[in-house]
Symmetry: C3
Subunit: 430 residues, 3 copies
Amino acid sequence: MARGGLAAPLLGRSQGSASGTLRKVFGSISGLCLLILLILFFVFVRYSPEDADVDVYYMWYIHVAIMIWVGFGFLMTFLHHYSLGAVCLNFFASCFITLEAAFVIGSFYYSDHHEAGSWLVVDLNLPLLIEGLFAAAAGMISFGAVLGKVSPAQLLLLMVLEVPFYAVNNYFIIDQVFSAKDVGGSMGIHAFGAYFGLAATLFLSRKGTGSSHTQNRSNYTSDVTSMIGTIFLWIFWPSFNATMAMPGPFSSAIHDSRFTAVVNTIVSLSGACLATFMASALVDGKFNVVHIQNATLAGGVAMGSAADLSDVGPGGALAIGMVAGILSVMGFKYIGPVLEKWVGLKDTRGVHNLHGLPGLLGGVAAAVVMMVNGDWHGFGYQLLALLVTFNVAILGGAVSGALSSLVDRLGTDDAVNAAFNDQSAFSIEV
Amino acid sequence: MARGGLAAPLLGRSQGSASGTLRKVFGSISGLCLLILLILFFVFVRYSPEDADVDVYYMWYIHVAIMIWVGFGFLMTFLHHYSLGAVCLNFFASCFITLEAAFVIGSFYYSDHHEAGSWLVVDLNLPLLIEGLFAAAAGMISFGAVLGKVSPAQLLLLMVLEVPFYAVNNYFIIDQVFSAKDVGGSMGIHAFGAYFGLAATLFLSRKGTGSSHTQNRSNYTSDVTSMIGTIFLWIFWPSFNATMAMPGPFSSAIHDSRFTAVVNTIVSLSGACLATFMASALVDGKFNVVHIQNATLAGGVAMGSAADLSDVGPGGALAIGMVAGILSVMGFKYIGPVLEKWVGLKDTRGVHNLHGLPGLLGGVAAAVVMMVNGDWHGFGYQLLALLVTFNVAILGGAVSGALSSLVDRLGTDDAVNAAFNDQSAFSIEV
Amino acid sequence: MARGGLAAPLLGRSQGSASGTLRKVFGSISGLCLLILLILFFVFVRYSPEDADVDVYYMWYIHVAIMIWVGFGFLMTFLHHYSLGAVCLNFFASCFITLEAAFVIGSFYYSDHHEAGSWLVVDLNLPLLIEGLFAAAAGMISFGAVLGKVSPAQLLLLMVLEVPFYAVNNYFIIDQVFSAKDVGGSMGIHAFGAYFGLAATLFLSRKGTGSSHTQNRSNYTSDVTSMIGTIFLWIFWPSFNATMAMPGPFSSAIHDSRFTAVVNTIVSLSGACLATFMASALVDGKFNVVHIQNATLAGGVAMGSAADLSDVGPGGALAIGMVAGILSVMGFKYIGPVLEKWVGLKDTRGVHNLHGLPGLLGGVAAAVVMMVNGDWHGFGYQLLALLVTFNVAILGGAVSGALSSLVDRLGTDDAVNAAFNDQSAFSIEV
């Protein structure tokens, strides 16, 4: 049933070559990465349970994990012949990033916890694994921009390279130097992940793999499975913004503001959902399922910087969510097509509209709350953090995208045939 | 793949008109509703964290949210050309109801918390949001009765009007006057939602949109996605019945009976699941997937009034669940068709069989437990509460259905063409 | 859409007979089982809330329940014409096993809690229900081996018979006599369930129902819905291994090692996921979706015995997971086909590769940790427990499979027609 939708000859060549490169290139690169990871974990990592680690952090860890693997994984199944690639490569890559980032971020914090001159020790516990999941979120946002256009080996390389840029940006720029407000990562996760992916896609998307590609589309079933991702992301997003809003090893919080972060995010997400349906009907005359799958979540993105600020208030949270939803719909309707036409930006999942723009909005929203409170110092550093994040992401994405594009390089015809097509990497019929 | 199942000409007209009305009617009504909500939240709502609000309530909030958005959302995807409408409109409408009901119910409780003569203040916290989710559950039950037959604007109006009826019924009749037992809402949520929807559908379902409509059916894929909803509802239902079984701002509980509510509901749901498979095989000769998607949940509905009563006992809970499952299967097999034929009741999802009848059973079950305990006073008020709920629901549903039917009114042919068809409101091919 | 894939005549006969037998055989057997269960629960079972039962155990109960009903249920939807049978019969059978096992296991522990000579009383609480879910996990693993080849009545009988074997093995052999380490059931749940099912399938799989059966295959949609199961199992597995790693009524733990169990399992699962993608690319040249749906989980299985041992360490956990993932891929690629060809083992879901082999590995891994620590006594008993489990499972599976095969016996042609086909038991078109 429902198979054989693509003629075999069209795929004959790319299939053959893909099979060879997947075994050789992906096999060797992933094997090398796994070996390094194994050695690092054996030599440098040890368990470090905090008091009541499980009771305090485990529920939040699970919630964020659901967002990464169910949420992003199924959200990206919308492409009708790339659903398996979306959920499976999201599975693999998130897994790798979580461990790599736990090691990298744990190393950064090493100097805070240990005496000078001692051997590097990474203390692995649940807060550090949550930090790893945050990095995976940034990575999966970047994946959305290059979705269907990169080989598994290219994706793995891109993600391996993204982690240090992500970690440096968050550690030095946000956590340590500017002390910007970004508890849920409007800037450090969403804007970073989006602009990193957008810069990378300039190097990784071949001509002819834009929105007019015949396979760059959904069908009825893939639209429904994509809604699984949307709904789970939407439900669990309050946990994403709240899990670091309490004092802990990787948190700058000085008191427990999880209640504020949870309720601000619930209200903001509700505002985004409601505004998205309204805006979609107004701009398209019918509901556009792309808007509903994505823009409904913009309230979570845009509340990521200011979530733990009680000055936002229920009305403010609702307003931020509504503005974010409308901004995201406008992005999909008007800004995305313009960027594709004039800048050549081929953003498969439209991450600019869900994570880029609402991420910038979120960073600015927190700055505005500070300004209203007369904290001009904070206001300035918040905008500076946003600017630095924007630049690190674009620089990092360009470098990483260019490097990743050096492996599995296909001719233009083969690249177009392989795009958005699970037969490139999976032994299945679509 | 799997597209083009409907001939284009059949939909040509309704598509055209739907596009116009969605932009104008839904756009303006939803815009107005959002504006009012935004003003109310800015002026009247403030955060009111209880002690340990997040630690005590957040997990239960998330569980109930999963039931609303994953559970009801995917359960209703069973219609093969209305899966997106089901999950998306469930998403939008539940979101709106939650905020509206939080405001309305918060206002009702205002007089309990504040001194006379002070300005209205709604204290927003997690228990109030859970109350909002309960109202959304009632709304989504009503939605099941009119599923596929109402435009988005009609649905929004119906839900906007349902909330005050729901809140008045629960507050005055159950919480304050009769003090009926209804911790998980057998009466106040399930029976109310079902009879409200059934009364509304008399005004909102057009001739020819009953069970013989060619699109009023599932296919293999939509039956599987519907099972996502069933399974998540079934797993998390114990939380639905237990979350208010502890002392708190919106609970009449005087001690913590969450253990009893959880275990009673687990056992009752198990009984319903087991009895449903047996009964379905007996009445149909094969398993009817409609029974399995719905009647397996009747044990949760029927345990909604007596969940926190330890007198029920493991055997009693199992018996209530089994009776509820069998009753629900009988409803689908024998009662539903009779009601459609003789009363003209076009109940798309069969909410009468899952929420109406088992809801009544649940209210009576709690009354019987009281009677056995010699509490004749409680017994009488319990039945009275049931009777009042039944009447308020039917009256409210009729009024709200009639009012909602005034917008987006189509001719009979257009209504039949638009029914159970996502092309009416979504810019997709089915 | 996507219906009518099978010609009606092919199924005519088996449909007719199935309809008759489902009503008579399944109806009567399930009715009898339900009646007995109801009587047992009325007479012998009472609620026994431990202190803080809900606060300590409910989250873990829900996590394990998600694994049983969402995880195993959707993982098994991979067969393109047996998706409903998979998720629905998993629903029914898990429900029955949970209650039956709670009764049986509760009876076993009766003598520990009550004075000699008193009447049997089963104290029902959340830890006992979690024990019931563990038994359901073993049952659903066995179901995977016979998937698509047994009638509902045969499945019910098989599961009814599996529970006492399971309970005896775990209680006497692991918990009480050998005191083997098996907190997450590498041996007692996974290896037991796999070898029980494999022994049973020798009696329940008819000639012609092996991997070459034309309906024994997935399609694109069923591969995606199967990934729902994989992802949920993978996310919640740490809870499976950790929930008994604290002192409690059914736990042999003497201190709280939930942190160790959670982190060991997270790291091991990550290792299995990463190694599976690498190994699948290496052995198949492309990703084999069967490997990804299954072998990624082998890290959870293999960590089931040693999860609570902190000596494993992050590097050790990663290594165990990687080895388990590679072992599982090798099992699917090389060992499964050999066993089918030479032993006639028709293992529909490949449970030997995901639960059998990694379960043995898990038991051995814990033994090795003991040996390294110089605990030769524990080492010996661990291997002895593994050996006994292996034998009890095969003996129990053979006896139960043979007995179950006596009902609903079809001729060979009918059996082949009915296999892997939801029309055998469901009133649907596929």
